[in-house]
């Protein structure tokens, strides 16, 4: 019977192929590939390159912060007009901060993270041959690629890249003449982001449609791994919130180029009164943060999903509270849409409205805490294997806790009046969504590297990378809390200019050197990544003894993922160390009939036939015991 089915399927697949029959050429295999596994790798490599670029930008402005009065001739050699006399110019400093934020938030932690792992894991873990629309999926990558190029090309224009901050608040962003970065650089920023959003929407629509329509037999929603849940809900957030940013950006473009007054009012520029009247800059903040807040969950939720999976696999325990994990993800996703006002407490918002946003914001602590406790409970008394991926997943939990706690301070409207726009905010979000998300991403890279490249990454370099990055990130961001409490504002060019900030200069030197150390540590990762792609140890079928479906697919990548039939799913993905079973894991495609000794009554909650068989079997066992 099974041979028949396999045979049938082979034929079907062949006939299906007829419609879009392409010869495998270099272009459609290695460049414009429509295979989700290959697109995932394209997203990952582009994301890593963008991450290195954005990290280099951060090192540059850290040098400025640590040594505001020193001249580094090498900087002038490298940056030319952006660093006259070996000192980064104030305008370029603002550009560095802006582009660092933009690239990290959007290009690395949105596209690089979701793009890589949604593409790789959704079809493989739900048991689909590819995405709902492979062609749109390919377009999604190439839009992202072009957006990346345009964003980087803004370093080549005369007046430099956008410099109004990654939130591009008007009026600075709406008036090309207001500062150098608002000119051509800002235009390129807007073009790049429109393409980027198009890419994200195409990707997100595909991910949602694939998860809801193309799951293999037996894979109901409650049998999906948490990675798929997280990536799915992330895509939902993106699809609902990115169009709102488009709306905001469209109006901004009208203000910039067509003379409308959506965001502009009472502007005096270089001593000249501008004709704009009646606009409201707060309107932009509403539209921006309606995307902007879900965006931070778009960044962290995939990391949560990846870490949940890695923690369960390497603790050799079922994830603690699977349903609670899913419901808390849903809770976070829903709540993320009604908290955007907490970014705007100091805009003169009605205090009552501020109170409402404060309450919704603080409620997010509940699902977040559920997740945190569940991760810790998963680790508790687990049979832990400290692989590099596991360390990064634990690191993710650590950063999520230490960064999340300060979120409770900032979500409080009264405290936020003091803390708004200080280094306290920088510390908060770099820990909770920056470091935590990047650690989740790195956990994913180390864990699924064998699936992507059929080879293993080097563990020792992985450990080195983890410890230097983990310690480095805390050394960089922890002191910033105290600067923020002391009222040091973010985005300031030189601390020497302000009496009250001078005493923090030594701390800045410390932070800069910690950042440089953490930056150098990333070279260990880069070397490990590239070296392992070509010369790493070959992987086995299921290197981590994991349950999910991707490890049942052949090591060699084939288009369509499985040759022959797609495996059927019988159980949830977290049957680790199940009592009574001879191994400490039972893959999802193993039917209960093959694991009689480890079955439990609650495995058959909606399956009376199975329960009957189970009772019969246990009674027979008991009878045997009695005879003995």
């Amino acid at each position: 019977m099974s041979t028949l089915a396999v045979h049938d399927h082979g034929v079907v697949h062949h006939e299906e192929g007829h419609e879009h029959h392409h010869k495998a050429t270099f272009l459609n295999t290695y460049v414009f590939s429509q295979d989700h596994k290959y697109i995932a790798k394209q997203f990952l490599v582009t994301g890593i390159i963008m991450a290195f670029i954005a990290m280099t930008l951060s090192i540059l402005f850290r040098i400025q912060l640590a040594y505001p009065d020193k001249s580094f001739p090498i900087l002038e050699t490298l940056l030319g007009r952006f660093a006259p006399n070996g000192r980064i110019s104030p305008d370029f400093y603002m550009s560095l901060v802006t582009i660092h934020g933009t690239i990290m938030v959007f290009f690395v932690l949105t596209a690089g993270l979701s793009g890589t792992f949604a593409n790789l894991l959704i079809p493989l873990q739900v048991g689909a041959r590819d995405m709902a629309s492979p062609f749109v999926n390919m377009l999604s990558y190439w839009f992202f690629f072009i957006a990346s190029l345009i964003m980087l090309s803004s370093f080549l224009v005369q007046k430099g890249p956008a410099s109004g901050g990654w939130t591009i608040y008007p009026p600075l962003s709406a008036l090309p003449k207001s500062m150098p970065g608002s000119d051509m650089g800002m235009t390129l920023w807007l073009i790049s982001m429109v393409l980027f959003i198009a890419s994200q929407l195409m990707g997100g629509i595909n991910y949602i449609s694939t998860v809801l329509n193309m799951r293999t037999k037996g894979m109901d929603l409650w049998k999906m791994p948490l990675t798929v849940w997280a990536l799915f809900l992330t895509a939902v957030l993106g699809v609902l919130s990115f169009p709102v940013l488009v709306a905001g950006v469209v109006l901004l473009i009208f203000d910039r180029s067509f003379g409308t007054s959506f965001y502009l009012s009472d502007i005096v520029l270089n001593g000249k009164v501008m004709p704009f009247e009646g606009g409201s800059p707060i309107l932009f903040q509403h539209l921006f943060w309606f995307l902007g807040h879900p965006e931070v969950y778009i960044v962290i939720m995939p990391a949560m999903g990846l870490s949940s999976e890695v923690l369960a696999v390497n603790s050799r325990k079922p994830i603690f509270g699977y349903h609670a994990m899913v419901y808390s993800l849903i809770g976070i996703a829903v709540l993320s849409f009604i908290v955007w006002g907490h970014h705007m407490f100091v805009t003169g918002m009605n205090p009552f409205l501020g109170g409402v946003f404060m309450i919704t914001t603080l409620i997010i602590a509940v699902p977040s805490a559920v997740k945190t406790f569940n991760w810790l409970a998963t680790l508790w008394r687990g049979n832990i294997r400290f692989t590099p991926a596991m360390l990064f997943a634990i690191g993710m939990v650590s950063f999520f806790i230490s960064g999340g706690l300060t979120g409770i301070f900032l979500g409080n409207a009264a405290l936020d009046i003091n803390l708004h726009d200080t280094y306290f905010v920088i510390a908060h979000f770099h820990l909770v969504m920056g470091s935590a998300a990047i650690f989740g991403m790195l956990a994913g890279v180390y864990h699924w590297f064998p699936k992507m490249y059929r080879r293993m990454m080097d563990e020792r370099l992985g450990y080195l990378h983890f410890w230097l990055t983990f310690i480095g990130a805390y050394l960089v961001f922890f002191p910033m809390h105290f600067m923020g409490l002391d009222g040091v504002p973010r985005r300031y060019y030189a601390f020497t200019e302000f009496e009250s900030m001078k005493r923090w200069l030594t701390v800045n030197v410390f932070i800069t050197w910690a950042a440089i150390m953490a930056g150098i540590a990333q070279l260990a990762f880069a070397y490990n990544f590239v070296h392992s792609i070509f010369w790493g140890k070959k992987t086995v079928q299921n290197p981590w003894n994991a349950n999910t479906l991707e490890w049942t697919a052949p090591i060699e990548h084939i288009h369509g993922n499985w040759d022959g039939e797609i495996p059927t799913v019988y159980r949830w993905p977290y049957d680790y160390s199940k009592p009574g079973h001879d191994t400490d894991f039972i893959p999802q495609n193993v039917p209960f009939s093959q694991t009689m000794s480890s079955n439990l009554p609650h495995d058959f909650e909606d399956n009376p036939g199975g329960l009957e068989e189970h009772t019969k079997w246990t009674n027979a066992q008991k009878a045997n015991e009695a005879v003995k």
Binding site: V11, I205, V239, L251, S261, E277
Partner: protein, 194 residues
């Protein structure tokens, strides 16, 4: 059995694609929701009321697009009854009504600018929103016209009925959405014209 499996698999795939269209409509819906809530936030400010009598042509264009939805529905019905000629006729009617809608919308904007003196760069951006709503909807209409054209041209290529129905369904979802979207925007503007 082979044939059956194949049909199932194709059905599954078409289902996923239709679902994709629904999600796209959600994104588009969010876009207009953002614009209209932007309008609400903006026009809540002092002296930011619209204060424009919505010009008559917008009523005509609304009627035109409603009729085009009805003809599209009749085309769908014809397609299901395998009456291809009738389906083509109604699809063409829908397509030209779509173009008529486009033309009337542009004319209405002309009336706004040149007869009523409400300019795109009005300091009161509530008035600019009129053009933004209309223009952004027309961008979608262009896409909708292309989808309609694709559907009607496909009927001349003798494609399988399953595909024909699928294309009709995709076009219907999108076009009816554009219809409803415009009615929403029109009613929204009527309610806010003071």
């Amino acid at each position: 059995m082979m044939a059956q499996i194949q049909r199932q698999e194709e059905k599954l795939n078409l289902g996923a694609k239709k679902f994709t269209m629904w999600i796209f409509i959600f994104t588009s819906f969010m876009f207009f929701a953002a614009l209209s809530s932007g309008f609400i936030v903006y026009s809540g400010g002092k002296g930011h009321g619209l204060n424009v009598q919505i010009p008559q042509p917008f009523l005509y264009s609304t009627l035109v697009i409603i009729i085009s939805s009805i003809t599209l529905f009749m085309a769908s019905k014809a397609a299901k009854g395998l009456q291809i000629a009738r389906q083509q006729l109604f699809l063409w009617v829908t397509f030209f009504l779509g173009i008529a809608f486009f033309a009337v919308q542009v004319y209405a904007c002309y009336v706004l600018t040149y007869k009523m003196g409400i300019y795109f760069t009005d300091p009161n951006a509530s008035r600019t929103f009129l053009y933004v709503f209309c223009g952004m909807h027309l961008l979608h209409i262009i896409a909708g016209l292309l989808v309609l054209l694709n559907t009607v041209l496909a009927t001349y290529r003798n494609i399988p009925q399953v595909k024909n129905i699928f294309k009709m369904e995709m076009a219907s979802i999108f076009w009816h959405f554009l219809d409803i979207m415009w009615i929403y925007l029109y009613v929204f503007l009527l309610l806010n014209q003071n």
